[in-house]
């Protein structure tokens, strides 16, 4: 276990880098996912179909393929950015599809009468969504959205394999393959780092869930 102690600063650096990736990806995917969900329930068929198509593609292909596309195909098409951002972009594009599905499920769970009532007192689509449907949908959607977020945190490890930056998994990988440290303690350190991210988030989410739950 001395590997862990000796290289503690490396591990902490990787941990912080992972948190950085997660923070950017979280903001990006929540925003993009909500937009997609709005498109999917909007009264405009082409937008609905576009969002449905996007979600269908994303949900049925692996994150790794998405990352290959953003990391290798986008630069080929003239979209150049540091690898770090391309990786985050891939994670955002991927997670947004799942965020969209979670939020849409929440919108579906709001009783039809709510939207009908809002429409019948003369609110527009935008107002109905913003004032009546979304506040209820978002509260009921905390558990599934929470799972998506936690899955995203775990998926950020895939970026490490891609060598996006000095994140937790790539630090572990470098220690074992380049510097020849024993595999077992290093990997346990990496695993501990990820658990230190996911387990508290899970606990936090169940607290939030209990706070905002609506009794129906």
């Amino acid at each position: 276990m001395s590997v862990l102690v000796d290289n503690f600063d490396l591990f902490v650096g990787g941990f912080l880098r992972s948190l950085e990736i997660i923070a950017y990806a979280l903001v990006g995917s929540l925003v993009l996912g909500t937009l997609l969900a709005v498109l999917r329930v909007s009264p405009v068929p082409p937008l609905q179909r576009f969002a449905a198509f996007y979600v269908g593609i994303v949900r049925n292909s692996p994150l790794t393929v998405m990352l290959f596309v953003t990391a290798f195909v986008l630069p080929e098409l003239g979209f150049n950015a540091p690898f770090f951002w391309l990786g985050i972009l891939g994670l955002v594009l991927y997670t947004a599809g799942f965020v969209c599905e979670a939020i849409r499920a929440g919108i579906n769970a709001v009783p039809t009468g709510q939207a009908e009532a809002a429409r019948s007192i003369g609110l527009t689509f935008g107002q109905t969504l913003q004032e009546v449907v979304m506040p209820q949908a978002l509260r009921s959607v905390v558990p599934p959205l929470g799972s998506v977020v936690i899955a995203m945190m775990k998926n950020s490890a895939v970026l490490g394999v891609f060598g996006v930056g000095q994140d937790l998994l790539s630090v572990g990988n470098r220690l074992t393959s380049a510097q020849g440290f024993a595999v077992t303690p290093v990997l346990f350190g990496v695993l501990l780092g990820y658990l230190a991210i996911t387990l508290p988030t899970g606990a936090l989410l169940s607290v939030v869930e209990r706070k905002v739950a609506i009794l129906r």
Binding site: R40, N60, P62, T64, R119, P144, I150, V190, L191, G202
Partner: protein, 303 residues
């Protein structure tokens, strides 16, 4: 939502407005596609020789590319099938054990489940692929992949099943016990089959996740020729990332869509309501119910 309740009431003015928005949105989307297409055309990405190994039987590389892709699909499905089988068996065993133990006795199991559920699949495949050899276990890479996937997915499936058991009416277990079955018989003969049916949608989306997760092997292990690893060979034929990854993504999407279609069919055949009438379980609702029940550090949507 097939028919959005948020729709404008179909008055003439609203219909006109909806039409205008539709046309504008359609034009914008088509415009974006055309722009992207033009760009690709300028880059020469549509040149026939770049695609011919895929599309043109006259090209001598044509059979090679498709043979490789077929090989990739075979290994991907093989690994997924093995992982799914093991995960289902172990998951059922974990749930049964967990529900039969007392509060004190199940503690270690609960901790283990939470730890595995909270860790990334990539790291678990790393564990299987690097730590087992360090301990002298020498298997082929396909098995490391299967072990890594099973470690993660068996506890996820266990949690899905637990949610299913929790959703069953209490009377089911009471009836089983009342006619003299043991706890284990009640669990395996009465509760589990119902839980399986109830959680079928959640289970099926987990199976698609497993198929997608096999692609991680392409990044980590140098061995099983699953689909993503095959991309290196396809890359050799096509010599172009756009073509290669388009093809690989398409193959994944086709495989997964076919699997989901098959799964929906199975779902319709297997799911039954209490009174024996067939019902279609709303996928989203079931997933939400599962997630609400589960909470914790899992993650319904895997990679």
């Amino acid at each position: 939502m097939s028919q959005s309740v948020l729709y404008d009431a179909p008055g003439p003015r609203a219909r006109r407005r909806s039409l205008v928005i539709s046309v504008v949105a359609g034009l914008v989307l088509v415009g974006l596609l055309v722009l992207a297409g033009l760009r690709l055309h300028r880059e020469g990405q549509f040149a026939p020789e770049l695609w011919s190994p895929l599309l043109w039987p006259g090209d001598e590389q044509f059979p090679a590319v498709w043979r490789q892709l077929g090989r990739g699909v075979y290994y991907t499905l093989l690994a997924a099938a093995l992982a799914i089988t093991f995960s289902l068996v172990i998951g059922t065993a974990v749930t049964t054990t967990r529900l039969m133990l007392g509060r004190r006795g199940r503690m270690p199991l609960v901790v283990l489940v939470e730890l595995l559920r909270g860790s990334p699949v990539v790291v678990l495949i790393f564990f299987a692929g690097k730590i087992l050899p360090a301990f002298g276990v020498d298997l082929s890479n396909l098995w490391y992949l299967v072990i890594g996937l099973t470690l993660y997915n068996s506890v996820v499936i266990a949690e899905i099943l637990r949610a299913g058991v929790a959703a069953l009416p209490r009377g089911q277990a009471e009836a089983g016990l009342a006619i003299g079955m043991t706890r284990r018989q009640t669990m395996l003969v009465v509760q589990m089959p119902q839980a399986f049916r109830l959680m079928l949608p959640a289970l099926i989306s987990q199976l698609v996740v497993i198929v997608k997760d096999t692609s991680l092997a392409g990044l980590i292990l140098t061995g099983p020729d699953e689909l993503l690893r095959i991309s290196e060979r396809v890359f050799r034929f096509l010599d172009n990332p756009l073509q290669t990854y388009t093809v690989i993504a398409l193959v994944y999407i086709v495989v997964n869509l076919l699997l989901s279609r098959l799964a929906t069919f199975a779902e319709r055949r297997l799911s039954t309501a209490r009174q024996g009438q067939p019902v279609t379980i709303d996928k989203d609702a079931a997933q939400m119910a599962a997630n609400r029940e589960l909470g914790g550090a899992g993650g319904g949507a895997g990679i």
